[in-house]
């Protein structure tokens, strides 16, 4: 092969080679598409993250994380409370905790001590209900601390719900569905009137809120799946699934099945998901009707081949002046390519070719 061949000619020669070898170019392997949208500049990225990343110091002031419309911290005091008296908040959107992260957090607490106290409110039965610190309390249990520093605040249920929902720490590593749940809860319980306000409460952009809430547009069976597996899919999947739903209005069952398969294959890419659904929904290729005798012409239109299809036979008549051997090779290659795309039930192949 000459190095001087043009790139296009070279690629074409490769393709021809592969066709002879019976290999479809992308056959078998799925490849994820690269993004094509406009990318932000570095400066834009920093600007967009500035208010939350650069200017806000990491440890919030004891009262600041509940500095919501209803700021209600009275008599907050920091004390060490017994770990066993602490109970989870019923409003905490998180449903699962990453063991490795908890261990790392525990190690950090062991090494450096507790960076900041948890926030709790005292219940009538003498227990402390968490407002923020669900991961810290678990880490403390892991490393066997008997007590933990906590700020005790007085809040009624509604205030505690809001404070728990918006607590920054609450949102570390939450899946999109869990976020959506929190945002929806805030809207349903009138803690916020619109998505913009939700964004303000949870210190994230309105577009992020609306992205997460998109998940609630998914068909009910998928939402039920998400209740069990909150990190099954993210917003980007939801978008793709909704597109599928609108394309295949009758295909809900297949779509749900495809999503369900992600429980075992969490890395399933969007394109793969789509092809699963398409495979299940696209009607089987209709049987080709008996081909009528037809002719295939050359560039100038004079007949080169005439083809007849019988019950189980294709008969190709080749006109004089055509390279019979090459025609045979090409036909075989085309059939081979076709054969790669189908699968016979069990019966033997019965397709025959005559030249």
């Amino acid at each position: 092969m000459s190095k001087r061949e043009s790139e296009a000619a070279f690629q074409a020669s490769l393709a021809a080679r592969l066709k002879e070898a019976g290999t479809a170019p992308t056959g078998g392997m799925h490849m994820t598409s690269a993004p094509t949208g406009q990318s932000k500049s570095l400066d834009q990225l920093m600007e967009d993250n500035a208010p939350r990343v650069l200017d806000v110091p990491a440890p919030p002031q004891p009262a600041s994380s509940s500095a919501s419309p209803a700021s209600v911290v009275h008599d907050s005091i920091i004390e060490r409370i017994a770990v066993q008296l602490v109970v989870d908040s019923p409003w905490q959107p998180r449903t699962r905790y990453d063991e490795t992260e908890l261990q790392a957090l525990g190690q950090a607490m062991k090494d450096r001590g507790q960076d900041e106290p948890m926030k709790v409110r005292k219940l009538a039965n003498g227990q402390y209900e968490l407002i923020s610190g669900h991961r810290r309390i678990r880490a403390a249990r892991l490393i066997g601390w008997p007590t933990i520093a906590a700020t005790t605040v007085q809040m009624d249920d509604k205030q505690a719900e809001l404070a728990t929902l918006v607590s920054n720490e609450t949102h570390v590593g939450l899946s999109d569905y869990e976020r959506a749940k929190a945002y929806k809860q805030a809207l349903d319980h009138d803690l916020a009137t619109d998505q913009k306000e939700v964004g303000r409460l949870f210190s994230c952009s309105q577009s992020r809120v609306s992205q997460c809430l998109t998940l609630y547009k998914l068909p009910e069976p998928i939402l039920q799946l998400l209740d069990k597996y909150p990190d099954l899919i993210a917003y980007r999947h939801a978008r793709a699934i909704l597109k599928l739903v609108s394309e295949f209005p009758a295909g809900e069952e297949a779509i749900v099945a495809a999503v369900e398969s992600m429980i075992d294959h969490p890395d399933l890419e969007l394109d793969e998901l789509r092809s699963l659904v398409e495979k299940a929904l696209t009607p089987k290729r209709p049987r080709p009707k008996a081909l009528e005798p037809r002719v295939i012409g050359d560039k100038n239109g004079s007949t080169v081949f005439s083809v007849k299809l019988h019950e189980r036979q294709i008969v190709i008549n080749i006109k004089d002046g055509v390279d019979v051997e090459m025609a045979g090779k090409r036909t075989m290659a085309a059939l081979r390519e076709f054969a790669q795309m189908i699968e016979l039930p069990e019966k033997e192949k019965s397709l025959k070719t005559k030249t």
């Binding site: 092969m1 490769l14 992308t26 392997m29 799925h30 990225l45 990343v53 990491a58 790392a104 950090a108």
Partner: protein
């Protein structure tokens, strides 16, 4: 430097700079670069040092005004080892500098292969260097971590404290690496748990260094900043990718690493989703043997799926790479063997990357 004092004749310099022998003579005279002459009674041929060549490249760039208006940031990354990432970074870095661009390379792998390829020894201690009479500059004391606020040792270092200049002022500069760079990843992990967005750490480092906000670290002097990322799928790598304008993914045709490009495309997709920013993908066919059908199959798969990302120029399988490693010359291949076919291919690849870079 510990490297043997390799000297280049005019012909080699002309090849490296892509200009004629006469042009080399004229420009080096005009620039007033002091070049050694061959000793003895024969013709007094000029013998250029590596530094001379980069000085000449810089002079020519100044004369022709080839600098970028904005610093371009790139990462060389593939989630698979042994596909030629470090070889690509060191050679592309050198080649860009030979084109007269000011290049800063940054080694993100604690195994420090890039650092070693530029002639440093990350395991050498100061005592050992003194005992064995090796220049102290060969030791690696600092790395990228020392320039980030996450590194809580109280020391504030400037860029000048950290960078190495393996080929002199006008050659590519290097933020080296050594084994403790691994700790940066641990610090990032703690940041992640505490919701401090470690993925933005490198972006912030670059933004502050480019805007002049960080006085001790002036990155605006560079035309190109290149990160050599480890094959690990970690926070450091993601941080570098997020901050980058482009990512060059070497794909070793020998090793079926096509799947790794697909993975990378997925990572970029997530980045676009989360941050609205992602680097432009460039795929570099590496160790390429176009006579093999298996290779051809991969090429077709990649070019049809990523037509825009595929670089038209490739690096072929070549024994030269291995020879250079054995030689212990501590020079990247383009400098060690300027006239080899492999070096020519690297220059062509670098120009292809440069063309894409200029559109970013």
């Amino acid at each position: 430097m510990i490297r043997k004092h390799k000297q280049f004749k005019v012909q080699a310099v002309a090849t490296l700079l892509g200009i004629s022998v006469d042009q080399v003579r004229r420009d080096s005279d005009e620039a007033g670069i002091e070049v050694e002459r061959q000793a003895g009674s024969g013709p007094k041929t000029r013998l250029f040092s590596v530094e001379n060549i980069f000085d000449l490249a810089a002079f020519r760039a100044k004369k022709h005004g080839t600098r970028f208006t904005r610093t371009k940031i790139g990462t060389i990354y593939a989630p698979k080892g042994g596909v030629g990432k470090t070889t690509a970074t060191s050679n592309i870095g050198v080649t860009l500098a030979l084109l007269g661009l000011r290049v800063l390379s940054c080694d993100l792998d604690f195994q420090a292969n890039l650092t070693i390829s530029y002639g440093y020894d990350p395991e050498l201690t100061h005592d050992e260097a003194e005992n064995e009479n090796i220049p102290l500059d060969t030791c690696v004391d600092y790395h990228l971590g020392h320039l980030l606020p996450q590194w809580q040792n109280g020391q504030t270092l400037t860029l000048a404290d950290v960078i190495k200049k393996p080929f002199g002022e006008n050659g590519p500069h290097l933020i080296p690496s050594e084994v403790t760079l691994d700790r940066l990843e641990a610090l990032f992990t703690v940041d992640a748990i505490m919701n401090k967005k470690p993925d933005l750490a490198i972006a912030k480092f670059l933004a502050d260094g480019l805007s002049g906000k960080n006085k001790g670290i002036d990155l605006s002097q560079y035309d190109v900043i290149l990160f050599d990322a480890p094959p690990a799928k970690n926070q450091t790598t993601r941080g570098a990718l997020l901050a980058s304008d482009f990512v060059v993914a070497p794909v070793s045709m020998e090793k079926y690493s096509t799947k790794s490009v697909s993975y990378l495309a997925g990572v970029l997709g997530e980045m676009e989703e989360t941050h609205g920013k992602y680097p432009q993908l460039m795929i570099l066919g590496n160790f390429y043997d176009m006579t093999r059908v298996r290779v051809a199959a991969q090429v077709i798969a990649l070019t049809s799926k990523y037509p825009k990302a595929w670089l038209d120029k490739q690096v072929s399988t070549s024994e030269e790479f291995k020879k250079v490693l054995d030689d212990d010359e501590n020079l990247p291949l383009v400098l060690a063997r300027p006239s080899s076919a492999a070096a020519g291919e690297i220059r062509a690849v670098t120009k292809a990357i440069l063309e894409k870079m200029e559109t970013l």
